[in-house]
Symmetry: C2
Subunit: 359 residues, 2 copies
């Protein structure tokens, strides 16, 4: 028979034959069905046998082949992550930490991470569909939640478990969903409180695209912070839709050109806050004295500018780890709605904020 297909395996076999469940069974003098049930903690196996099987399995270095298991169980112990290549900031420098967190945690539980990418929402749906159809993953981690996230409905319709990095629904998180989020609202509130404590009375806010849930929450935090500090809310001091450094710079220019300019700006992200440094240089202002800046994210770049950026840092690695953990719990049967987690961002004081100079 002529083969036009892929070539077969290599000729030399120094590869130590892997131990299968039947080998284990033979060594134990049991059948593979008994061994399988023992390993999977079935109740009709005596404790002594169970223990003996576990011990010999460890001795022989037996590890079940997930794919063979999957044929029967339909579960492959793999988490899925779809990177959105069209995201405004390309995930910045967080991706390494985030992926590290997911994979390290997943690895502890014997799971792996399968990733795919998309350039658009359509492509994302195709990709997810393919991964599911091929049974390559059991559930998904969704980064970058939007206020109304199309992925949520899409996956719910397919009855696929998933966890969100970030809540949805703005004020009212959608019930029944699993999510992990960092309290950006609280961070922005604390930022305003800190500036107000320094004596600032005109504090501006430069936010991100309002389609993202975090953007709205951080804006909320800013407004709440003003209220708690007893400061008036001035719409002119709040700008949104700022997504990169140059837009952050332009926002600073616009704010400083106001008749009654702010003495401090709270930025929604570090990347945009760096734009304020450019403007300060243009205009000969000293950051931390003539203009105070506080932002959010904790990118490494923020520690290298002069003065270092005061920011509320997010632990991406922890986020990844917890998301993996939540998803695995859900895949093991935990009710999704009970798997939610909100953590605080950590203030990293730099030199970019301080008391305002008296005019």
């Amino acid at each position: 028979m002529e083969e036009i297909r892929d070539t077969n395996k290599k000729p030399s076999e120094p590869v130590p034959r892997r131990v299968r469940i039947s080998d284990l069974a033979q060594a134990l003098g049991l059948t593979k069905s008994t061994v399988s049930r023992a390993l999977n903690n079935y109740s009709d196996i005596s404790p002594e046998t169970r223990e003996r099987v576990a011990r010999v399995a460890a001795e022989m270095g037996y590890a079940p082949m997930p794919y063979a298991q999957a044929v029967r169980t339909g579960r492959v112990r793999a988490l899925g992550l779809v990177l959105e290549l069209d995201a405004p900031d390309r995930y910045g420098p967080f991706l390494t930490d985030f992926l590290g967190g997911i994979t390290q945690e997943a690895s502890l539980e014997g799971w792996t991470l399968t990733i795919a990418s998309s350039n658009s929402r359509e492509e994302m749906e195709d990709t997810v569909t393919r991964l599911l159809q091929e049974h390559k993953v059991d559930g998904f981690i969704l980064p970058r939640t939007q206020v109304v996230d199309p992925r949520v409905k899409f996956l719910q319709a397919k009855h696929v478990p998933f966890v969100l990095f970030g809540r949805t629904g703005h004020g009212q998180p959608d019930p029944g969903l699993s999510w992990y989020d960092v309290d950006g609202e609280g961070a922005m509130r604390a930022a305003v409180a800190r500036l107000a404590g320094f004596g600032h009375r005109r504090i501006a806010f430069a936010g991100s695209h309002a389609s993202y849930n975090f953007a709205l929450l951080r804006r909320d935090g800013y407004r709440e912070g003003l209220e708690e500090a007893g400061l008036p809310f001035d719409p002119a001091l709040e700008v949104m839709e700022i997504s990169d450094r140059s837009e952050g710079a332009q926002a600073a220019r616009d704010l400083l050109d106001l008749p009654n300019p702010p003495t401090a700006i709270v930025y929604s992200t570090d990347a945009t806050a760096l734009g304020a440094y450019d403007v300060a240089r243009e205009r000969g202002l000293t950051i931390g004295r003539d203009l105070s800046i506080i932002s959010y994210d904790g990118i490494p770049e923020g520690r290298m500018v002069d003065p270092p950026l005061t920011t509320f840092a997010v632990d991406s690695q922890h986020a990844g780890a917890r998301l993996a953990s939540l998803l695995i719990a859900q895949l093991r049967g935990a009710p999704p709605g009970e798997l939610t987690e909100l953590v605080a961002a950590q203030l990293e004081p730099g030199g970019s904020d301080g008391p305002p100079v008296d005019p």
Copy 2:
């Protein structure tokens, strides 16, 4: 129009039962063995049958379940990537593009990417071993090759296919290996030529850790560039082991403090080159006039500094795509040693280099 009720009364039909090969066989009036061979292009199937099977398979939306295939074939159509979390620069901003390239290309061929991470070499070996033992991947992509890369021997001993991002062995690439690399040597040579063309006679080099292969190659390129330009090689102008911005800055200070300082510095990486900007600011020098800088990588940050950094940019997305393609080819039977690819870095002129000022 008949209304199809979609109440929650009947949750028993969430997913439209997937099409199995036996369903296909039944619909075709053939056995599944015939269908399987038809789909896999066996030569003992008549062309008409083969065509008919393919057509009906498409109509019915049949897609084989990779895991079920894997039980028999041992191949799961998954590429593996182990991120090294202890890498000096954490992959910087390239990771998104790189992963995007891999996954997009792999997706076209019906493959997926499984990633894991490690904090040390030992952990890396454990992780790889686990992925292989569990048959979760068919081969690996190894980023960041070192001159003598322990991963190469490790994987070769296990007879696992892999491709390298970067060559090994410095001058003499190890034969029989698959790799993709960007010609850093040529880029550095071109950088020196460009500077010499501007009239620079004292051109320094700030390189990376010599344990990495790319570091040695780029240094070679620098030296070759000098020779081609007819400039003498001065050991005092060549510093190595520079790995971040602050070290890049210190290198610039040391070089500028020499009795006979350079008028231009070629940096091995953009991240370190940015340190020169800090030093220029400290000393009131103008980059591009008082001191010319050329580097390598093409990080976005380089385009935002003033003046923009002249650099040789690497297309990480293309790298990922090609690596995926090479690995898949190898897994399909192509001889590893013939799968090598060297591409040129692309010059992105900024304002950081120009003619030297006459003393």
